[in-house]
């Protein structure tokens, strides 16, 4: 280690010990010990799942907006292949483009919502959300009558039947803001707003810094703290690249207004499943759409308007009191109506 260069004289000052046999052995032992300690420290990496290591192709995959059509096609097929290999299920991964002249908005009738959480679980199924750990895009808040203070809301209400007396319900999901702070926050542009108003995430680009999650005033974003798990039999095979295709651990996700359905003319799963018709969805640029009518005619309000993100998600209530609905049992995960059923 301490070779002196010939002809340059002795070493002065702060020299190390001379190269003796004993010194050499001691250094050798220290080096071996050090290497062994480092090896032990990184030993957990043995269990690193194989698909966590990016292949050459994945590592150099370009940002969604920079991909050529051919590259995108290859990526879509690759995702299909990966699901097939991992889960043994044939799926179709598409990438429907935003439709011109369309801007989606959502309207939710809080005088009708009975808090049954059917939307929550329909969303879980439709969007292949992780069952363990549990991820849900929609949070239904039970509110005290006479208050819109979110802090007094109950997130984990669990009565035998809903609706409960003296409460109303306010489901919250991504509001697809027109001025989305989450998009501003992202350092790598992994999340952006599409022309039809939907804010999407490229799950292959997100670095998992969770800055967007801190920025969102509606608590709409969900992070994959662990590898998401969906039983193969329950996978929804109709997938979109920017929406419900399988996510990896360590990336962000959120509601996309079911863009793989809605950009093809269908309704979001939560709208379809709602037993009370509280959920309305459509194109606000079309004056004849139901949502346009609601925005014109109903008593509409925006949650937390003061944060100024200009949501595309509206709450409204009926003029003449709420329509009566027979009490029903709420959906609980694992019951016939929930996870395993239908």
């Amino acid at each position: 280690m301490n070779e002196t260069q010939p002809g340059q004289g002795g070493r002065a000052g702060d020299g190390g010990p001379q190269l003796t046999r004993r010194g050499f052995l001691r250094k050798g032992a220290a080096a071996v010990g050090g290497a062994a300690a480092v090896a032990a420290a990184v030993s957990p990496l043995r269990d690193l799942p194989g698909d966590d290591l990016p292949t050459f192709e994945k590592f150099f995959q370009r940002h969604y907006k920079e991909m050529t059509p051919a590259e995108k096609e290859a990526v879509l097929r690759r995702v299909e292949r990966e699901v097939k290999e991992r889960e043994g299920v044939e799926v179709r991964v598409g990438d429907p483009p935003p439709l011109t002249g369309v801007e989606f908005v959502y309207a939710l009738n809080i005088s009708r919502c009975i808090g049954c959480r059917k939307c929550v679980h329909a969303c879980v199924k439709e969007n292949n959300l992780s069952r363990s750990p549990e991820i849900q895009y929609i949070r239904v808040l039970k509110m005290e009558k006479g208050s819109i203070d979110l802090e007094t809301s109950d997130h984990h209400y669990d009565p035998p039947v809903v609706p409960e007396h003296d409460s109303y319900y306010m489901p919250v999901q991504c509001h697809q803001c027109k001025k989305p702070p989450c998009v501003k926050a992202c350092p790598v542009e992994a999340t952006w707003q599409e022309p039809d108003g939907i804010t999407v995430i490229d799950y292959d680009w997100c670095i998992g810094c969770r800055y967007c999650e801190a920025a969102c005033p509606y608590w709409a974003r969900r992070f994959n703290f662990a590898a998401p798990e969906v039983p193969a039999g329950q996978l929804n095979p109709d997938m979109g690249y920017l929406s419900n295709r399988p996510r990896a651990k360590g990336v962000m996700e959120k509601c996309t207004y079911c863009l793989h359905r809605t950009r093809r003319g269908r309704m979001p799963a939560c709208v379809e499943v709602c037993p009370t018709g509280s959920r309305k969805f459509g194109n606000v640029l079309d004056p004849d759409s139901e949502v346009s009518y609601i925005l014109r005619q109903k008593r509409v309000f925006i949650l937390k308007e003061e944060v100024g993100t200009v949501p595309r998600f509206f709450y409204y209530f009926d003029e003449r009191g709420s329509r009566y609905h027979e009490p029903i049992a709420p959906v609980e995960p694992g019951t016939a109506d929930g996870e395993a059923g239908t």
């Binding site: 420290a41 957990p44 966590d52 998992g208 992070f223 100024g308």
Partner: protein, 405 residues
């Protein structure tokens, strides 16, 4: 070039040489750093579930430590101000130690951000699509890395000149010193802006955060250096005068008082208004809906800070023992306040009013300790190298018997 390589090689060699205390200290740090690496590898395999973070509290100890350390790093370089601007030569010796501290600490900052990433394998995406100037995080990336490079250049240049036995050319480092001073303010401010810019987090959404960052950094930074300098002068032959320590004490006095004043302003605004926005502050200071994990922490921090300030303004802190006590109190107090006290409560309650508490896991704590150990390891090596080099004991000439050209 060859001379530069021998310089690097001598530095590496030197960092393995020392007496038994040095070896013991370095071994302990290495072991802790490796334990941290072990915990991090586990986190890589299982994901961030190994931490206590959740969708509700999505940032925890990692970002808390990061925030604290940014302050420490900035303060280190600001010690330069009195030397170059006011020609206070008491501090001249300590400048290089301050800047080396900045280098070690910024390295720790970058490590803390990296371990917080869900997909560190994609960190290079920053180079391929950089959301500048919209995302404050990109500003922080630039500010921190720029600061690291500046300080590396200044320290590296001064040490290398000492090694070659020549006088450093002012043009090569004085301009950078001044840039570094301004830059130090910027790393603070940018890091504060990381938090204050969002309407959805009222606890952070306050203009006072950035000035408080500066004030507390000016207290914690010098406190750390006061302790370091005393260790340096005990275990090496490097002489540090008491006057230098007392200059630092004066900086701390002012900074602590301003910090406490700003804290008072903040507490008053929150609690006197008593609007819905006070929820996070109430959670922090008194607990909310029966959840009060942070309450003992923040009151400890406040007690420590008050006590430290009290000790510092007393003439008694001209005695080193009192001064050291005050320094330790300030370092710990500000660590709690800037870390747990600033980051975590902003997430409680969530924007939808849910109260979920954050408890760091052992894995997470191990990773943090590992990074701290690694940072101390780096700093120890830096000091180990720079003391003999600056003292002119290790130069090219002495090593190889030829005068450096």
């Amino acid at each position: 070039m060859k001379r530069y390589l021998t310089f690097v090689w001598d530095c590496v060699r030197l960092s393995f040489v020392g007496d038994w205390r040095y070896h013991l200290w370095m071994t302990i740090l290495t072991v802790v750093a490796l334990l941290g690496l072990y915990a991090y590898c586990q986190q890589l395999v299982h994901g961030l579930v190994t931490t206590g973070m959740t969708d509700q509290v999505s940032w925890g100890l990692y970002i808390a430590n990061f925030t604290y350390l940014v302050g420490l790093a900035a303060a280190a370089a600001m010690l330069v101000i009195p030397v170059y601007v006011y020609r206070n030569m008491h501090l001249h010796d300590v400048v290089v130690f301050g800047e080396l501290l900045a280098v070690a600490v910024i390295t720790m900052c970058l490590l803390f951000v990296t371990v917080d990433l869900g997909r560190p394998d994609r960190a290079l995406h920053l180079f391929r699509r950089f959301n500048f100037p919209i995302s404050m995080l990109t500003w922080d990336v630039i500010a921190l890395n720029g600061y690291l490079l500046l300080n590396l250049h200044i320290c590296g240049y001064l040490l290398y000149c000492a090694y070659c036995g020549r006088q450093p050319a002012r043009a090569f480092y004085v301009p950078f010193v001044f840039i570094a001073i301004v830059w130090a303010v910027s790393i603070h401010t940018v890091t504060a802006f990381l938090y204050v810019g969002f309407g959805g987090r009222p606890f952070w959404n306050s203009a006072i955060i950035a000035p408080r960052f500066l004030a507390s950094a000016f207290a914690a930074g010098p406190a750390f250096i006061v302790l370091t300098l005393q260790i340096v002068r005990r275990v090496t032959r490097h002489r540090v005068t008491d006057d230098a320590l007392f200059t630092l004490r004066r900086i701390m006095q002012v900074a602590m008082i301003i910090n406490i004043f700003l804290l008072g302003c903040e507490v008053f605004t929150e609690f006197y208004t008593d609007s819905a926005h006070v929820a996070s502050a109430r959670y922090l200071y008194f607990g909310l809906h029966g959840r009060s994990a942070l309450v003992p922490w923040i009151w400890t921090a406040i007690a420590f800070n008050l006590l430290a300030t009290f000790l510092l303004v007393l003439p008694a802190s001209r005695a080193l023992r009192t001064l050291n006590t005050a320094c330790v109190l300030a370092i710990v107090g500000i660590w709690i306040e800037k870390g747990m006290g600033l980051i975590v409560p902003a997430f409680v309650p969530t924007p939808l009013g849910e109260v979920v508490e954050y408890f760091p896991t052992w894995g997470e704590i191990m990773v943090c300790l590992g990074i701290w150990a690694f940072g101390l390891l780096l700093y120890t090596i830096f000091v180990r190298i720079s003391v003999p080099v600056l003292a002119g004991e290790l130069t090219y000439e002495k090593r190889y018997g030829v005068q450096a050209p």
